[in-house]
Symmetry: C2
Subunit: 169 residues, 2 copies
C-alpha cells in the first residue's frame, strides 16, 4: 500500500532518528525466556542503505551467547527530550572479519576495548533489520511501519502477512 | 553478597532513574519469536515499594495478546543527555480491576484514552520486577544488579544462581 517514494522517505527518517539518538537499548532473550537489554552504540558511519546496523561487542559476552539460542533482537532508540521513539526488530549475527573490524574501528572505541582493534575478543554484531516503527511524539500512534522498505532495498518481496502484521502492531 | 543498606540504596537509585525518564520502551516477544517495543508511560505515583511498575494499556492491544504467549517483558529507560540507562526484566499481567484503574487514573491520560476511566477497553499492566540493571554512563560497566532487593522486599529467598547470573550479565 505504501509507495516507493514514501518508503524511501520513511527509511531516511528512520535512519535520521537512529543517528540522532545513536545509543540504543539492545534486547535479547535468554535461555530462560527472560528479556535483557543493555546500551549499545550504533556505528553511525556504516550507513543504512542495505538495512543493516552495526555494533562492536565482546565475542564472549552474555548477549552473544544468548543470540546462539535466539538470534532475534529488538533495538529501542529513545530521546525523551525530543519525544522520539524507535523500535527496530532484526536478526543479529556475530561477525569476526578482521578487515571489517578495522574498517569500522574508531579510536573512541578504546574506552570499551582498551586493547584496540587487535583485541582477539573484539567482534561485530550485524543486525539485519526487517521491521521498524517510530513515534515522534508520545501522544501519537505509531507513525510508520518500516518493512516494505527493506523488501524494496533487498529486492525480496514482502512475505505474506508482513504488511498486515506490521500495520496492526 | 550485597548488604541490605546497599540494596535499599540501589532500589532508590533505580526508582529515581525510572521516575526521571518515565517513558520506557516495553519489549515483548510475539508468537513468531520477533521482539517488539513501544513507548509506555510509567505511572510515577504508584510507588516501587513492592517492586511493581504500572502502565495503562488497551485490553485488546497486540502487546496484551503477546503477553498471553510470553508473559515476560523488558522495560528500557534511556536518557541520552544524562547518559542514564536502565534495563528492567519482569513478569507482566493485565489487571482490569476498576477500583485500581480509578485510583491510578489521571486526566492527562485522556490523550491516549479519550473515553476516560470508564472506557471498557482500558486496563492496567502490572510488571513485577525480578531483575534490573542500570548504567549511569555509557562507558561504565553495569553499576548495579537489582535482584536481591526484590527478594528482601517479598521475603522470598533469591533463587540459586540468581546472583551469579545477574552479576555476569
Amino acid at each position: 500500500m505504501a509507495r516507493s517514494a514514501d518508503d524511501r522517505e520513511a527509511a531516511e527518517k528512520l535512519w535520521g532518528m537512529i543517528k540522532g539518538v545513536r545509543i540504543c537499548m539492545m534486547t535479547t532473550l535468554d535461555e530462560n525466556g527472560i528479556l535483557h537489554s543493555r546500551p549499545m552504540a550504533t556505528l553511525p558511519h556504516a550507513g543504512f542503505d542495505d538495512g543493516t546496523l552495526w555494533f562492536f561487542t565482546r565475542a564472549d559476552s552474555p548477549k552473544v551467547h544468548e543470540l546462539k539460542t535466539h538470534w532475534r533482537v529488538n533495538l529501542s532508540y529513545a530521546d525523551p527530550d525530543k519525544q522520539d521513539y524507535v523500535s527496530v526488530s532484526g536478526v543479529a549475527e556475530t561477525v569476526r572479519d578482521r578487515d571489517k573490524i578495522r574498517f569500522l574501528w574508531r579510536d573512541i572505541l578504546s574506552t570499551w576495548f582498551p586493547q584496540g582493534v587487535d583485541d582477539p575478543d573484539l567482534a561485530l554484531l550485524k543486525v539485519s533489520v526487517d521491521q521498524a516503527e517510530y513515534w515522534d511524539s508520545p501522544s501519537s500512534a505509531m507513525v510508520y511501519a518500516y518493512g516494505y522498505v527493506k523488501a524494496k532495498i533487498t529486492g525480496e518481496p514482502p512475505k505474506p502477512g508482513d504488511h498486515a502484521k506490521i500495520a496492526f502492531q
